[in-house]
Symmetry: C2
Amino acid sequence: MAVTKTARATKKRGSLGRPEGRTESREALLDAAERYFAERGYAAANLREIAEDANVTQAMANYWFGTKQELFRQVYLRRGAWLATCRMELLDEVTAKKRYALEDILRAYITPPFQLRESAQGRAFLRLQARLHAEPDETAYALRREVYDQPVRAYVKILANLLPRLTDEHLYLRFAQFIGIYIYILSDAHRIEEISGIRRRPSAAKLIDEIVRFTASGFKG
Amino acid sequence: MAVTKTARATKKRGSLGRPEGRTESREALLDAAERYFAERGYAAANLREIAEDANVTQAMANYWFGTKQELFRQVYLRRGAWLATCRMELLDEVTAKKRYALEDILRAYITPPFQLRESAQGRAFLRLQARLHAEPDETAYALRREVYDQPVRAYVKILANLLPRLTDEHLYLRFAQFIGIYIYILSDAHRIEEISGIRRRPSAAKLIDEIVRFTASGFKG
């Protein structure tokens, strides 16, 4: 399957990592689940169909994940952990330099999710993520906390050094707006091309540039 | 069509109004549906339960709406039409003044959805809206188009006058970011209080001020 190849090809950062000792089948099941949850939503997705699609027996699926909720959790955490690792590594890279700008920090945060957009499987995750970000309930909170808290705190700490006159409250309020922007732009729900009459969908590079510019002005403003 | 009637019936801005000629039962059914769709999601919501909750026979519910899809459409368009009307009226109010700033235009756009946050029923709609904004599929497109296209075009036209050096493409790309921000902040999924250690949830007025300030800087930057 395409995703597997992509994942294997990006061994360095960018690797969606296949921990040793896990079979291809387990990963295939997570891939299938990711697509089903993205396409049908959590409630309508069906464990039996997912197992069939992944060519895995339902007994095996039950053994690995037990419940639909646990399967969802593992699907989410698999890419979530990759996202968090990329973000921390990119932040280290940027801040290791003698001089860096606010824009470099913002770019580091949103580059990994835009990489996910390059594969169908990654786009499935982005749909899941957009949905989860629209959910104020406790399960969604807990999952987001697990994936995002460490990077968000680390990024805000660096932003605080660059913008010393902002209080913590203001920094977090602005960071939340930054998150709202990239989640929405990545969800492909914005219809920029349609409503504006632009012929071509803007490239990822262009969207990243636009978000970095807009948000940097917002943080400084 | 329902939208027209709803729009006509909300004579004063701010009223979520019960349009004349519609029975209380029909509105009660829409209210119940709004809550069920928000709490359980579209797939899991059940027409029979919604009718029971609204104290309406299922025959009546079928007569009014026929399908779950049509019921969802009417739930969405009821408040969507109110939102669109408010936005157009506020834009007219602002631009009728001799002088107005970018900030006044941005504030006019996001004030109506923040009003919805004041009631439990309005908050149910905001959850629906956040979910729908995370959906790139055709049905979601069509509904959003019906509710948002006219106001978005009208607002961007005014913004173009205020920011003459921006191309249409840039204006729309920035407007999309503005939408992403308010949808996310309104979804209550941002956990600003939790992650930042702020004791109190920021008030609607404060959130509006923050968004207007951040976004105005973004548009000008």
